[in-house]
């Protein structure tokens, strides 16, 4: 049990650091997915330990949301790339004060 939680924490941390440090939007996106799946792993592990299906259902929900998010997010990234020839998140910084 502890192993699952440790693994989940490591995956989440990798994802979080990736989101904060990487500039490529695709990589940032992948890191976000990594964080989501780290959460899924923790949810499933806790569900297993508690002996009910609540965590697993929540994991399914996260997957559905993640799938929808991937569709929208990739579409946005594609559009940005088409107009700017760049997928760097730091370049898309016009929406500010």
């Amino acid at each position: 049990m502890t192993d699952y939680v440790v693994l989940s924490s490591i995956l989440f941390t990798i994802g979080a650091v990736g989101v904060l440090t990487r500039r490529n939007a695709i990589v940032v996106f992948m890191c976000v997915e990594l964080m989501l799946n780290a959460c899924n792993l923790a949810l499933v592990a806790f569900a297993n330990q508690n002996g009910n299906l609540d965590g697993q259902i929540a994991a399914f929900l996260v997957m559905v949301v993640a799938a929808a998010e991937v569709v929208v997010g990739l579409a946005i990234i594609m559009t940005i790339f088409r107009t700017r020839r760049s997928a760097s998140v730091d370049d898309a910084s016009l929406l500010k004060y």
Binding site: L20, V89, D90, A92, S93, L95, K96, Y97
Partner: protein, 646 residues
């Protein structure tokens, strides 16, 4: 001093009107109809009324005069204790305990006023046909004049103070519209506003008086009030009297609300003659005489009336002495003559009939002289400066002769109307209190001076006409009313034959035992005539025998400077009212701008300013947002852990 016997103030106890008297309402309705047709129907008639509307405007007041005359003759046929008639038209409004009917009262006082208003009014309407012939807005002018007649008749026919108030405001409106008739002239528009605002001050007195009548008597009917007047405390009566005096001061241009009348001369001259000489400005005198059942029980209020009257009669006369504008001299003279009427009204029952007598005579001779001044202006290309006149007696003989009749009447030349009425007022004033009588005699002397000065500068001395001015006599439509009014000015004294007017007005003003004046009537008349002669001689000395300069000399003594500045009436108003109110307004504006607005706008700019600072957080860098999200999440988790583990 006369002392009123207990319950001696006459009680209004009218009988229901029948026969020709049931036409009473028509005297209001006919001119009102004219006003509605001319003002509302005019634009609908597509110009037809612009050309012919004045016929309607003249016919309806004349018809009202015919009805008034018929009623007057009928009234003379009745016995003197049977001369009060009332007509109930409908219930005007009802609110709580207050029930106000549209009631009319026809008694000797309103009968005389009806004749004056519709009679002199009709003559002035006829004159206006000629005077306003070339004015393209003549239809509207006649509409306003008819509106004025309707309102003024309402004022004198109303049987309760609400009705009087209605007419009071109506004549104020008509006066405003007519002073500002040539509203494209800035001075006329300003004068109209000034008249309206100063009248508002007096109207406050009227409105508060009506309210106090209701509070004290539970009604505003003359009948009930006069029947219960002896049961009310003297303090209340004095308050009522002073409120009515304030109202009268506004409408009748008495000091301290006098300053609008001279500016009111901006209106067309027939308006000055009708409204600002013969009728409307005498409404204050009517109000006081009509409210005799109040003033008879309020001796202090009567003294206040006398003081106001004496101050005004000298004030107006002094203004008249130095002005070069012929209409303003006549306006100052009107103010002064109304002062005499107010003096008569302030004396009490002994003076009421003579106040009304002088009011009627003044209506004749002052309308005559104003219309004469209009005729002069007509011939002089609307120049009003008397320094540009001279020897007009040759160019305008009819105007000159009719004006001279009015002149002799106003200075009190023996035999003319003003002689009889002014002398009686002076005599009663001397009987009542010597100071009022002496000052009234002084006023008569000044009247002799300024009227003679006007006569000399206009009709005698040398020719000082401007280039290209060719004075000519006015058309008959203007001179015939002048002749009629001049005849009335000469013959007005017949009303005193056999003390007729005193006896006729007795049901209204009450009966008092005659008191002997300190001197015989003949001696008083002789003194007054002598003083007037001094005034006339002074005018000849200063104006008649010397060459009158075309420009007013600048180096003059301080009394002349003061009189030219209308005795600083405007400046006094400005200092006492204008500037304090102006300071109050400035203070309020300052408070609003810096305290109220400061708070509101300060809050807004504080929020805006903090927004300016905080928006720097929105850098646009996704990764810094992500960092703050992470930090927030860690903070939440840490907080949860701290709560759960503690």
């Amino acid at each position: 001093m006369f002392v009123l016997a207990e319950g001696a103030a006459p009680v209004v106890h009218p009988a229901a009107a029948s026969g020709v008297f049931s036409l009473l309402w028509l005297v209001i309705a006919l001119p009102m109809l004219g006003a509605v047709v001319l003002l509302v129907g005019g634009p609908l008639a597509k110009g037809r009324l612009d050309r012919n509307g004045h016929r309607i405007g003249v016919a309806l007041p004349v018809l009202a005069f015919v009805i008034s005359l018929a009623m007057f003759i009928q009234l003379l046929g009745r016995s003197s204790d049977n001369r009060q008639l009332s007509q109930h038209l409908y219930t005007w409004f009802e609110a709580g305990g207050l029930k106000v009917g549209a009631d009319l009262l026809y008694d000797p006082l309103s009968a005389l006023f009806l004749l004056l208003i519709t009679g002199v009014g009709s003559l002035i309407h006829i004159y206006s046909v000629g005077y306003m012939a070339s004015d393209e807005r003549r239809r509207r002018f006649f509409g306003y004049l008819n509106l004025f007649i309707a309102a003024m008749v309402t004022l004198v026919l109303a049987a309760n103070y609400f009705g009087v108030f209605l007419g009071w405001e109506g004549v104020g409106l008509a006066s405003y519209l007519l002073i500002g008739f040539w509203q494209y002239k800035h001075s006329a528009a300003a004068a109209a506003k000034k008249a309206f605002i100063l009248n508002r001050v007096g109207d406050i007195g009227m409105a508060m008086g009506v309210s106090l009548f209701f509070v004290t008597f539970g009604t505003t009917d003359f009948t009930t009030i006069s029947a219960n007047a002896n049961k009310v405390s003297e303090g209340t009566m004095t308050a009522l009297g002073l409120l009515l005096l304030l109202a009268a001061c506004g409408k009748s241009a008495q000091v301290p609300l006098q300053s609008w009348l001279l500016d009111a001369m901006e209106g067309p001259t027939p308006v000055s003659a009708l409204i600002h000489a013969a009728t409307m400005v005498t409404a204050g005198v009517y109000l006081i005489v009509r409210s005799n059942f109040i003033f008879d029980y309020a001796p202090h209020a009567r003294t206040a009336v006398m003081i106001v009257a004496v101050v005004t009669l000298l004030w107006g006369a002094i203004i008249g002495c130095a002005n070069d504008d012929i209409k303003k001299v006549l306006a100052g003279s009107t103010m002064s003559q109304i002062g005499y009427m107010m003096l008569g009204a302030g004396i009490g029952p002994a003076g009421y009939p003579f106040a009304i007598f002088h009011l009627l005579n003044h209506g004749f001779f002052k309308a005559d002289m104003f219309l004469g001044a209009g005729s002069v202006m007509h011939g002089m290309n609307d120049d009003v400066n008397m320094r540009h006149y001279g020897v007009l007696r040759r160019a305008m003989p009819v105007t000159f002769l009719t004006f001279a009749m009015g002149y002799l009447a106003i200075i009190g030349f023996p035999g003319f109307s003003g002689f009889w009425s002014k002398d009686r007022i002076i005599e009663e004033a001397l009987t009542q209190s010597w100071w009022a009588g002496v000052l009234a005699i002084v006023g008569a002397g000044i009247t002799g001076f300024y009227m003679t000065r006007l006569m000399f500068m206009t009709f005698f001395t040398d020719r000082r006409w401007a280039e290209g001015v060719h004075p000519h006599e006015s058309p008959p439509v203007m001179t015939v009313p002048l002749i009629v009014l001049a005849a009335l000015s000469v013959l007005g004294g017949v009303m005193l034959i056999g003390n007729w007017i005193v006896n006729f007005l007795e049901p209204v003003t009450g009966q008092i035992a005659h008191e002997n004046p300190p001197l015989s009537s003949l001696a008083i008349s002789a003194i007054v005539v002598a003083i007037v002669a001094v005034g006339v001689a002074a005018a000849w000395y200063f104006v008649g025998r010397v060459e009158v300069p075309r420009e007013a000399p600048a180096d003059v003594s301080w009394p002349v400077t003061a009189a030219r500045a209308e005795l600083y009436g405007n400046e006094i108003n400005d200092e006492l009212v204008g500037k304090p109110v102006g300071a109050l307004v400035a203070g309020s504006t300052y408070f609003d701008r810096y305290a109220v607005d400061g708070f509101v706008e300060g809050t807004a700019s504080a929020v805006g300013g903090s927004g300016l600072v905080l928006r720097r957080l929105q850098t646009g860098f996704v990764r810094s947002y992500a960092l703050s999200l992470l930090a927030g999440a860690i903070l939440v988790v840490a907080a949860l852990l701290a709560v759960n583990l503690a």
